[in-house]
């Protein structure tokens, strides 16, 4: 797989064009996405917001290569994700996406180190370098002393930091965080968000899916979805001015 090649300079990290996703539920067809076009470049920090039913989750699954569009195209670093097989998608997720979930989604029986090195296991990385990289990632999230603890021996905030370490370890193109503070108290949530901010500062591309404004406020750009379409797409410099938020974006 040539998936690890760096994208051509200037090409966007992800490029969605007229993406439509339709589900068939019983007799009715649900159009979760009705033509979404979105471009996100390298080292952007984007929040995707929207009420439930807006297609937010579907878009996240699409970006995360867990799902493929019914029509339209999705290029991740120039690779056409829409036409890939299950196993090819697994490889793409493995190399290009770092997931952070609301419910942490750590393997309960595996210790921190094992959880963090798991993406590298599936990438086929040899044991020694896998271990080294996993320990580096664990150190980066400040859990070096917890490497051999099981998830149930950790606090919620610590678990989420393990998840972040796991997302980071493969050096992905995008970190995709789905309500990363949803299961945390607000103080711990803030800690986690500061961690994302630091990752962004060090050059990481981050996409946050959230419905909380103060979480979205950490991002530099906010994309709002409604009824399967992008309702607004603004840089947060503008949104921070309360007056501008009420008016339509653009010049």
């Amino acid at each position: 797989m040539e998936a690890t090649q760096a994208p051509a300079a200037g090409s966007p990290t992800l490029l969605l064009e007229q993406v439509v996703k339709t589900y068939v539920m019983g007799d009715t067809e649900v159009r979760a996405l009705r033509g979404v076009s979105l471009t996100i470049g390298r080292n952007e920090y984007v929040a995707i917001m929207g009420p439930s039913g807006s297609g937010k989750s579907t878009l996240m699954n699409m970006i995360g290569c867990l799902d493929t569009p019914t029509s339209g195209s999705y290029l991740l670093e120039g690779l056409p994700v829409g036409k890939m097989s299950d196993d090819e998608l697994a490889d793409i997720r493995n190399r290009k996406i770092g997931f952070v979930f609301q419910t942490f989604n750590l393997l309960p029986r595996a210790d921190v180190l094992h959880n963090v090195e798991l993406p590298l296991v599936y990438a086929g990385e040899p044991r020694a370098s896998r271990r080294k990289r996993a320990l580096e990632a664990i150190e980066r999230v400040g859990l070096a002393d917890r490497a051999h603890h099981k998830p149930n021996e950790l606090s919620g905030g610590q678990r989420q930091r393990v998840a972040i370490a796991r997302a980071l370890v493969g050096n992905p193109s995008i970190i995709l965080a789905d309500e990363p503070t949803g299961n945390l108290d607000s103080r711990t949530g803030e800690e986690i968000m500061r961690m994302f901010d630091e990752l962004y500062s060090s050059g990481q591309t981050i996409i946050l899916v959230t419905h909380e404004d103060d979480i979205a406020a950490h991002a530099r750009r906010t994309v709002r979805l409604r009824d399967g379409l992008i309702e607004s797409d603004v840089t947060n410099g503008a949104r921070r001015r309360p007056a501008a938020a009420a008016t339509a974006p653009g010049p």
Partner: protein
């Protein structure tokens, strides 16, 4: 490289999953253990019986062809009636056959009956009395432990001499030296000239030299011949050159047909017997017995396998979310498939290993009570192989169910 890592991760995960559910794993393995014990015991018993059979009938000699009036295996009364009309084989026939095969084969005529054997005040009922010749030593290769065997002059002069089996010696003479003593066989006195070495008895009974009395066949004819309807002997023929048994058989048939003056096209009015005939009959019978045994054990294994499959379905369902996580971070179908196949394999391998240990104990018990038996390494290896195959077969459907989970659905699973 990648496959190796997959295997290592599969091992790590399946072992930790099994350790988290030790009781369940052990109970599931129990089904496999029972199946494997059944398979090994059946195979070991069949092996033991076969060895025993060979040992018991080794007296017959694999390289000896027998000419008799009747075949050793007769299927039903009709066949018996037909064979019973055949002319008897006389001592003279044996003489002529020996002449015809001179330099090529040794011919030993023999005949048996049961008679009372007495020494002093001790009597033994219905002992096997065999009339034979000095050639018997060539056929079986067994020699007396003490004294000598029958000699040509014993036959020529129809001497009343006997070579007795080890057990007969024990029971009649205890610690005394029997050589030169007179024993009574039927209503004649015989002088003991030799004692055969102890042979022992197999499971199948059969003939053992231990309880036989050997006398010259000529003497036998003189004493017992008149009492029976004529005098019918069997001829044992052993080739002197290392030709194949088939060649010897062919020659014997040709020569004996000449002796009997049979015309071409006429059926043989005698039978050719050999160890092979018995072995074939044995194999036919044992084939059925072992077949039925293996079928029953197969059912035991099948039930065990279904148990494993069942528990694997439970395991896959329980770990739907784990599958979702693994797939989200890049596990391919193959990796998930292997993980669960490995788990099923480990359960069955464990079952197989425990099964071998249990079967080994059962074998020791059989060996101590029923018959000589030992667990052969080949059977143990086969059992492990069978256990693994059962594991793979039982694991494939649940593992495949896990492998093709949609990661989105799986992650949503509570």
């Amino acid at each position: 490289m990648k496959l190796g890592l997959d295997i290592a991760e599969s091992a790590r995960i399946s072992l930790s999953a099994l350790m988290a559910n030790k009781g369940r794993g052990a109970l599931t393995a129990l089904g496999i253990i029972i199946g494997i014990v059944a398979v090994i015991t059946t195979m070991t018993a069949a092996n033991g019986l076969a060895n025993n059979f060979k040992e018991t009938f080794s007296v017959i000699g694999a390289d000896v062809v027998y000419v008799s009036r009747m075949p050793w295996i007769i299927r039903g009364p009709d066949e018996f009636a037909r064979f019973n009309r055949r002319p008897q084989i006389e001592l003279d026939d044996g003489e002529r056959l020996a002449q015809a095969l001179r330099g090529r084969a040794v011919v030993n005529p023999y005949v048996g009956t049961r008679e009372l054997v007495r020494y002093g005040s001790k009597t033994l009922d219905a002992m096997q009395i065999t009339g034979t010749t000095d050639k018997m030593v060539v056929m079986s290769g067994t020699l007396p432990e003490t004294g000598r065997f029958l000699m040509p002059f014993d036959l020529q002069y129809r001497r009343a001499v006997a070579v007795i089996g080890w057990e007969i010696k024990e029971r009649l003479f205890e610690n005394r030296d029997p050589i030169g003593e007179k024993i009574r066989v039927g209503n004649r006195d015989f002088r003991v000239v030799g004692v055969m070495a102890k042979e022992g008895q197999g499971v199948f009974g059969g003939t053992s030299t231990d309880v036989e009395v050997y006398i010259p066949v000529t003497t036998f004819a003189k004493i017992f011949g008149g009492r029976q309807r004529g005098f019918d002997v069997d001829l044992a023929i052993k080739g002197m050159s290392p030709d194949t048994l088939a060649d010897l058989e062919y020659e014997v048939i040709g020569e004996f047909r000449k002796i009997r003056s049979l015309r071409p096209g006429e059926d043989d009015n005698f039978s050719i017997n050999k160890l092979d005939t018995l072995v074939t009959a044995y194999n036919n019978i044992m084939g059925v017995v072992v077949g039925v045994g293996l079928m029953v054990t197969g059912i035991a294994l099948f039930v065990g396998g279904v148990g494993v499959m069942n528990i694997m379905f439970v395991s896959v369902t329980e770990r739907t979310r784990e599958i979702g996580i693994r797939k989200a971070i890049g596990a391919r179908r193959r990796s998930v498939l292997m993980q669960f196949m490995f788990e099923a394999g480990v359960i069955c391998l464990f079952g197989g290993l425990v099964g071998i240990v249990v079967a080994w104990l059962v074998t020791l018990l059989i060996n101590a009570t029923l018959m000589p038996a030992s667990l052969s390494p080949a059977i143990a290896v086969a059992a492990i192989g069978i256990a693994l195959v059962v594991g793979m077969l039982a694991g494939i459907a649940p593992a495949w169910k896990g492998a093709r989970q949609d990661p989105i659905e799986a992650l949503r699973y509570e």
